[in-house]
Symmetry: C2
Subunit: 346 residues, 2 copies
């Protein structure tokens, strides 16, 4: 099977010759060839310059032979196009003028994928040509709840008090904001499919910080809106939430083809709770990839065993950490590529 | 029923006249009377001076009539007695000379509750006399994994890479450290029961950052060691882990009487997975208590409904946040004290 066939078969829960593998944030600071590019340009220039975005997106595919290639970009591209002033710092993104009132929501500009994010669409169509059948091309967007978290907090957060204040004190304004973001993300994701993405991943990373009840009210309906639009455009959808062990069944109601789960739950327990109607992606603890090759092989083997061969995409439970030695990423990818090696190691 | 009877009945899954209620970190910075004391003395002086520790421990019981009173102290008292140099800063605790090697582990001093933490034991026996039957007295200690996290990281952490490096690269050293900490905590917790604590809570806050497999190897056996010792001393045990939705069944194997769970899982789902053999404590999102009284009442009512009347202690899913208005804590406590008020509000 080609990488594209293997990846799409896993998304559809069809048989595969072996489990496909890629890593969230596989193009990133842990790679010397990525750091070499970043020495010349800043993060935003990299996101918005197709020549460079194509180059770094391909780096992990070239080096490790992953079965999927995720376009190099950032979930905040959409809100930046809607008027948010985003700065990328060493400590993470910072947003000026946080969105906290109904008036702030109205200030957000209408989003048009072609005119606002043409650079991403061009990157995708060039990647599709470069990749051929080697690796599936993944487009992505943020989950509306997660984008709302960045907009309200003005950056990352520990307790998400600004976000939750909006949700619990002004639920109507929250829903207006979330609906606006969902419409933008749905249009953006569908345009990525038309530009060549084989699949789309929705990164609703911080939705796992909500109670299940709040997740059901404020995250799920907006994930579903994006999922429906992407599926109508003809591509499978992966939904990722960090800290999803308590909301797996709700997450499945998004209609996603594949749920990307973090490392705090065993994949066999996830399977038992979800049945065979949905695929699973994950879920090795990214911290393990900063330790030893042996620990990486053991963790990857455990994930492959727990998930079984059908409807599983081997991945991490969150993005690759900058401290990760590339040889640990290689060992991780090889665990799927040559599972017989693992068996021999016992 | 008195507060003591109500609390101990809930721990034993016996019938109660109403669900007992208290809050993790209920004596803390959100209370003006606590801040008034802290203007005069630093955190460590407060922990180690029985007059002051008794005063602030009682503040939330006096103000709100909670059914339990947790002794004011810190989980790092034990490791400080073992030789760790702990400083309490506005950003959290800082530990000099992190413990990362077998030699570092051997450097830790033997811990003796009476001579090393007599101030805590005196605080407990005075609190027991002051409280009478009003409220159950709760002693506590850190979970060994969580103490190991502070010792290896030298403070709080986002990804716990130092801790996980020890666990995955040097599991034997990790087990030596964890066993040393478990023995100290078990002796410490049992001495708290002898000094007057009706129950003990083990705060293994960061154990939920591990994979279920690592939790089973590195957290569970050491929780169990403390649980067994405290139960032999005649008191029920509550185990708290933040982010426990994926490991509930493993957590129950600690032998704890009550599992204290965070807000990322519905209590009815926890009940369904655990059966009726173990009590539940929790699990309102502490962020909700920084929003509105109405949102607090709704969230408390939902927790009471989801858990049912038997074997439930109403609490938060993590400690009270400093930004919390005291009237939100009052509304929370009243939700258990006068559930008919909630019913009338619909």
């Amino acid at each position: 099977m080609t990488g594209v066939q293997r990846f799409l078969s896993a998304c559809a829960r069809h048989p595969v010759d072996r489990t496909p593998v890629w890593l969230m944030r596989q193009a990133g600071r842990y790679l010397p060839e990525y750091r070499a590019v970043r020495e010349r340009v800043d993060f935003w220039t990299l996101c918005t310059t197709p020549d460079l975005a194509v180059e770094v997106s391909l780096q992990p595919v070239e080096r490790f032979g992953t079965d999927a290639c995720i376009v190099f970009s950032d979930i905040l591209v959409v809100v930046a196009a809607m008027g948010a002033k985003v700065a990328f710092t060493e400590e993470g993104p910072r947003l000026e003028d946080p969105v906290r009132t109904a008036r702030d929501v109205k200030r957000l500009r209408t989003f048009d994928p072609a005119s606002d994010t043409g650079f991403v669409l061009e990157t995708l169509s060039r990647l599709r040509r470069e990749l051929g059948e080697r690796a599936a091309l993944i487009g992505f967007c943020g989950g509306p709840l997660t984008l709302a978290a960045y907009l309200t907090e003005g950056g990352g957060s520990k307790n998400f008090l600004r976000l939750k204040d909006l949700l619990y004190r002004s639920p109507e304004t929250a829903h207006e904001l979330l609906a606006t973001l969902a419409d933008a993300c749905a249009a953006y994701a569908a345009s990525q499919v038309r530009a060549g993405a084989h699949a789309v991943q929705i990164f609703d990373t911080w939705a796992g910080e909500l109670t299940p009840q709040a997740y059901e009210e404020f995250a799920l309906p907006y994930q579903r809106r994006i999922v429906n639009t992407v599926r109508r455009a003809g591509a499978p959808v992966i939904v990722y939430v960090n800290g999803c062990a308590g909301i797996l069944e709700l997450m499945a109601r998004s209609g996603a083809d594949v749920l990307s789960v973090d490392w705090r739950i065993d994949l066999s327990a996830a399977r038992a709770r979800l049945g065979s109607g949905v695929g699973l992606q994950g879920n090795v603890d990214p911290a393990i990839l900063t330790t030893t090759v042996e620990a990486v092989r053991n963790a990857a083997a455990a994930a492959l065993r727990a998930a079984g061969p059908l409807g599983h995409i081997l991945n991490l439970g969150h993005g690759v950490l900058p401290q990760t030695p590339p040889e640990c990423v290689r060992a991780f990818v090889e665990s799927a590529q040559s599972p017989s090696l693992l068996a021999n190691e016992g």
